[in-house]
C-alpha cells in the first residue's frame, strides 16, 4: 500500500483521527497540543498519527487534504480543521454535538497512536 493509501485508510477508518507533531504522550508542538486538549475535553476517542518521523507523511497528507498546516483533525473521514477550528468548535459546543452525532453519546474515550511509516 502506498503512503497516501495508508494515510487515507486512517482518515476513513478511525472515528477521530489527528495528524500531529509528536504523540499524545509527547506532543511536540503547541498547536497539536491545543487540538488534542479540545478533543480530550470533548470526550473524543483519539487516533493519533505522528507526522514527524518522515517528512513525506506531511507532504502526502497536505496534498490529499489541500490543507497546508499541522495538526489536522478528522471525524469519520471528514476534515473538521486544524487547532484553531477544533478549539473554536469545542468552545461553541459544536465539537461535542458533532461527536455525539457521528459516534453516539456513550462513546468510549480510547487514545491510541498508529504509525503510517
Amino acid at each position: 500500500m502506498t503512503l497516501r493509501d495508508q494515510i487515507k485508510q486512517v482518515i476513513d477508518d478511525e472515528p477521530v483521527a489527528i495528524f500531529m507533531k509528536g504523540t499524545p504522550e509527547r506532543p511536540a508542538c503547541g498547536n497539536s497540543m491545543r487540538a488534542l486538549q479540545a478533543l480530550y475535553q470533548a470526550g473524543a476517542p483519539i487516533t493519533a498519527v505522528d507526522i514527524l518521523p518522515d517528512p513525506q507523511i506531511r507532504q502526502e497528507l497536505s496534498a490529499l487534504t489541500d490543507w497546508p498546516t499541522i495538526p489536522q483533525v478528522f471525524v469519520k473521514g471528514e476534515l473538521i480543521g486544524g487547532a484553531d477550528i477544533t478549539e473554536e468548535l469545542f468552545a461553541s459546543g459544536d465539537l461535542g454535538r458533532k461527536l455525539d452525532e457521528a459516534l453516539g453519546e456513550d462513546r468510549a474515550q480510547v487514545v491510541k497512536t498508529v504509525a503510517v511509516r
Partner: protein, 76 residues
C-alpha cells in the same frame, strides 16, 4: 517584513474585509491573522480557513510563516 507581506496578501484577497495580523512571538514567523469578510458568509469554518490558507499559500510553502493561527468572521 513578513508581516507586511501577509497583510497585503490578505487585503488583496479580501478587499471588502478587515484584516488584522499579529506577530505572536515577536520573532517574525509566528502569526495570528484575523479576517472579517463577506466572502465567508454562509461558509463552514473549514472553507473559510481554506480561503485564508490559499491567500497565504506562498509564505506558508516557503517557510516565511512558521506557524499560523487563523480567526475568520463573516459580515452578515
Amino acid at each position: 517584513m513578513a508581516i507586511d507581506t501577509i497583510r497585503s496578501l490578505l487585503t488583496e484577497a479580501f478587499p471588502d474585509g478587515s484584516v488584522e495580523v499579529i506577530d505572536r512571538t515577536g520573532g517574525g514567523d509566528h502569526f495570528h491573522v484575523t479576517v472579517a469578510s463577506s466572502a465567508f458568509d454562509g461558509m463552514t469554518l473549514v472553507e473559510q480557513h481554506r480561503l485564508v490558507n490559499r491567500a497565504l499559500a506562498e509564505p506558508l510553502a516557503d517557510g516565511t510563516i512558521h506557524e499560523l493561527r487563523i480567526t475568520t468572521k463573516g459580515i452578515a
